[in-house]
Amino acid sequence: MTASLIIFLVLALLAVFAAVSLIVQRHPIHSALSLIVVMVALAGLYLLMGAEFVAAVQIIVYGGAIMVLFIFVIMLLNAGEEERTNFSKLATFAGIPLALAIAGFIAAAIARNAESLPAAAPSGTLTSTKTLSNLLFSDFVYPFELTSFLILVAILGAIVLAQREN
């Protein structure tokens, strides 16, 4: 086993366990904390694939900004522990077989096409931020600017919605 494979396994298991914990936890704050662990583990995986800038931004934007908002809202609403209800009979009886079935289908699909799937980027080599930004501002300039515009519209929309009526 190479070092990068061990790191990959550790991070992947951490991400999966945190994701399961996100669903299983009863308290919203604990769920949010698990989600932060997922984000950070994903950032580690990005770094392993050589995407240094994406990894850092993943932590700064998702791990930092967005999750802080989640936690903030949960804290402000003072949301307490959730109560379990055995409401949906369909979920109880059909849920587990269906979940197993979809996992099996995905696994089968991946196993069948394992050879034809393109290999992941070779780990160990870093794509420099300069290359990334050059691409963003030359080849992908229209999608990039459109996304920025979309975000701007969303920000304006949030301000309009939050504005108190005079």
Partner: protein
């Protein structure tokens, strides 16, 4: 044994460096509290700590012992996981952020493994530092929420709101430096500021707006006066750490001081040329500055210590003084050593200046009101730092053509 050391040097050397750095930082943190109390006391015409050891020099040790042996009560109905996680997270992130800071220019070889002053030399060190800062909000937010106390909750909310708001200005004020350097590596940012002209090529001159924005935002980010609203004791008792006692409180305290050190290091590296000397390279006589400072200081401590009131002080102070003076004198006779400490000397001198300004401000300035803090951050600091980015880009473009 040597084979083993050479083979695993890439693991062993960083571990040794981490141990040394953590020990140093914790000691510096402890003596920073001493310095802060002493300086503020003198600003307010008091003596400050002076009972434990000569000039109160052993006060940090006494405080440490007190923190360890204090009772650590657990408030009722706290969220145990978050309550215990918060101080550890805060301290861990504060110490981790120091890992990417380079302290000096030298490279040296241990067990056949080439390494440098500082733990990790990452080529995106600035981004790593910002991502760690982004996560450090959680420690405070969680501490406030988990404590099951109104004061803590309000303090935690305020603190996280403040940190999120000023993080934007902090990050944007650095972009100017990044545009000039064209690199995320702190080592290369320092290298780009070096020239034969000394301090004239430091980033602080072209980036004076960025520097001021950065320093203001950094003070707010570390929750210090005049932005220490999370700890406004007249309104919130002690803010997010009201319900913490003993070692867990100490962890928040150490984390706060460590963050101050990190931010000062960052300001030094980004704007004040890191370990570069402010004098032109041709002025080789400035290399004796450490000696010139150490010998008189050591002699002063020596002669001041002889007349100290207590016997312990009469032994300890002259001892410390003579050691300092001898180190200063030794530097003259070992030019290689003298050259080696030039980088760390200037780095530490600049960091110390920033830390002193921190303390100085705490002794001088009143606290902001909360709405003032928010409107200052969003309506003044953020636009100014964005304007700085635009201005810097225009100048760089204009120079390219």
């Amino acid at each position: 044994m040597t084979d083993f050391l050479t083979k695993y040097a890439f693991v062993i050397v960083p571990i040794i460096k981490i141990a040394i750095l953590v020990f140093l930082i914790l000691t510096v943190d402890a003596y920073l509290t001493w310095l802060e109390r002493k300086v503020i006391a003198h600003i307010q015409a008091r003596w400050g700590p002076h009972r434990v050891g000569p000039h109160g020099l052993l006060q940090p040790l006494a405080d440490g012992v007190k923190f360890i042996f204090k009772e650590d009560p657990l408030p009722t109905h706290v969220d145990k996981v978050a309550y215990f996680l918060a101080p550890f997270l805060t301290l861990m992130l504060a110490l981790t952020s120091l890992a990417v800071i380079p302290f000096g220019p030298q490279k040296f070889t241990v067990f056949g493994y080439e390494t440098h002053v500082g733990i990790a030399d990452v080529n995106i060190s600035l981004l790593v530092l910002f991502s760690i800062t982004a996560l450090s909000v959680y420690g405070i937010a969680l501490a406030g929420w988990a404590s099951n106390s109104k004061y803590s909750l309000l303090g935690g909310l305020r603190s996280s709101a403040q940190m999120i708001s000023y993080e934007l200005a902090l990050t944007l004020s650095v972009v100017g430096v990044l545009l000039i350097a064209g690199d995320f590596s702190l080592r290369n940012i320092v290298g780009q500021q070096s020239s034969a002209h000394g301090l004239l090529t430091w980033n602080v001159f072209p980036q004076i707006i960025g520097f001021l924005c950065f320093y203001i935002a950094a003070i707010a980010e570390t929750n210090r006066v005049p932005f220490d609203l999370p700890e406004a004791e007249s309104e919130l008792v002690a803010g997010f750490h009201t319900e913490y006692a003993s070692m867990k409180f100490a962890m928040f305290f150490i984390a706060e001081y460590t963050n101050m050190i990190t931010v000062s290091c960052l300001a030094t590296i980004l704007f004040l040329g890191g370990w570069l000397s402010p004098f032109p390279a041709s002025w080789t006589f400035t290399h004796y500055l450490p000696t010139v400072l150490l010998i008189p200081f050591g002699l002063w401590v020596f002669f001041d210590g002889i007349r100290y009131e207590t016997l312990f002080g009469r032994i300890m102070l002259p001892g410390v003084g003579s050691v300092l003076a001898i180190i200063g004198a030794a530097l003259v006779f070992f030019p290689l050593l003298n050259d080696a400490i030039q980088g760390p000397f200037w780095f530490l001198a600049k960091v110390f200046t920033f830390l002193f300004v921190y303390i100085w401000m705490r002794g001088t300035l009143p606290r902001f009101r909360y709405d003032q803090l928010m409107s200052f951050g969003w309506k003044f600091l953020l636009p100014v730092s964005i304007a700085n980015v635009v201005l810097t880009s225009i100048v760089i473009l204009w120079r390219m053509h």
